[in-house]
């Protein structure tokens, strides 16, 4: 019973997001550039 229960858990759980999502976040982070000028905050994306 215990074994069946743990198998069931494995099938229905979702433990990690896919590498594509992580790669997107890393690319997003690399491209995002935040800066401030005279009390104004700007956000831009650099290639």
């Amino acid at each position: 019973m215990e074994k069946i229960y743990s198998n069931y858990q494995e099938q229905t759980g979702f433990n990690k997001v896919c590498p594509k999502t992580i790669n997107f976040l890393l690319s997003y982070s690399q491209a995002l550039y935040e800066f401030e000028y005279e009390d104004l905050s700007f956000e831009t994306f650099l290639n």
């Binding site: 759980g13 990690k16 997001v17 992580i22 976040l25 995002l32």
Partner: protein
């Protein structure tokens, strides 16, 4: 020969196996992008499991996870994060708020999932005209105004009041000083004459 006075080796009691979150956050803020990768991979499982346990949908979990880290990245890059040694609880709090936002949004706009046999968009649609239909409608309106100009003045007057000013025939009769029946008759002739002009010139007025 005397041996040099060597200090006894210190026993390492606690080995630091991994860099602390706070140190990685500091590294990331100072420009080390790879620190973010370590942070994401380190907490991927806990955050993903937490989100999935609430929303029970893989795609939505991916979306909320992504939005969570977008907020994290923005906050860190803006320098608005205050380090209190609580990186993971902070990230969990962000994802928790996004989960609440997700449910609120879904309550306001329940999502309908269609099937192969039935597509909801075949029943309902956006009542706004698309760009092409709007252009055609504008063209028809312009053509129609030109046709109305061809009508005799008394018929044109009644038609404009009725169609464009949305006046009742009682109001039209009061404004033009004719009886309601005369106004009705002028409207009728206006429409007959418009149809004649349209037929004569083979004009197509459909959208």
């Amino acid at each position: 020969m005397d041996l040099p006075n060597l200090k006894p080796l210190k026993k390492v009691t606690r080995m630091k196996l991994q860099i602390e979150d706070s140190e990685l956050v500091r590294d990331y803020i100072s420009g080390n992008e790879s620190a973010l990768e370590v942070l994401i991979n380190r907490h991927n499982q806990r955050i993903t499991s937490f989100i999935y346990s609430k929303v029970l949908d893989r795609d939505i979990t991916e979306d909320i996870f992504q939005d969570t880290f977008i907020k994290v990245i923005k906050t860190l890059k803006k320098g608005k994060y205050s380090e209190e040694g609580k990186f993971l609880p902070w990230v969990m709090r962000i994802s928790h708020n996004l989960i609440i936002d997700h449910f609120r949004r879904n309550k306001r706009m329940p999502m309908f999932e269609g099937s192969d046999e039935f597509n909801i968009f075949s029943v309902i649609g956006d009542d706004k005209l698309n760009a092409e239909k709007q252009l055609i409608k504008n063209q028809i309106d312009t053509d129609l105004r030109q046709l109305v100009e061809e009508l005799p003045d008394d018929q044109k007057e009644v038609l404009l009041m009725r169609i464009y000013k949305d006046m009742s025939f009682k109001e039209i009769s009061e404004n033009t000083g004719v009886s309601i029946n005369t106004a009705l008759g002028r409207m009728r002739y206006a429409l007959i004459n418009l149809r004649k002009i349209i037929d004569k010139n083979n004009i197509v007025l459909t959208n």
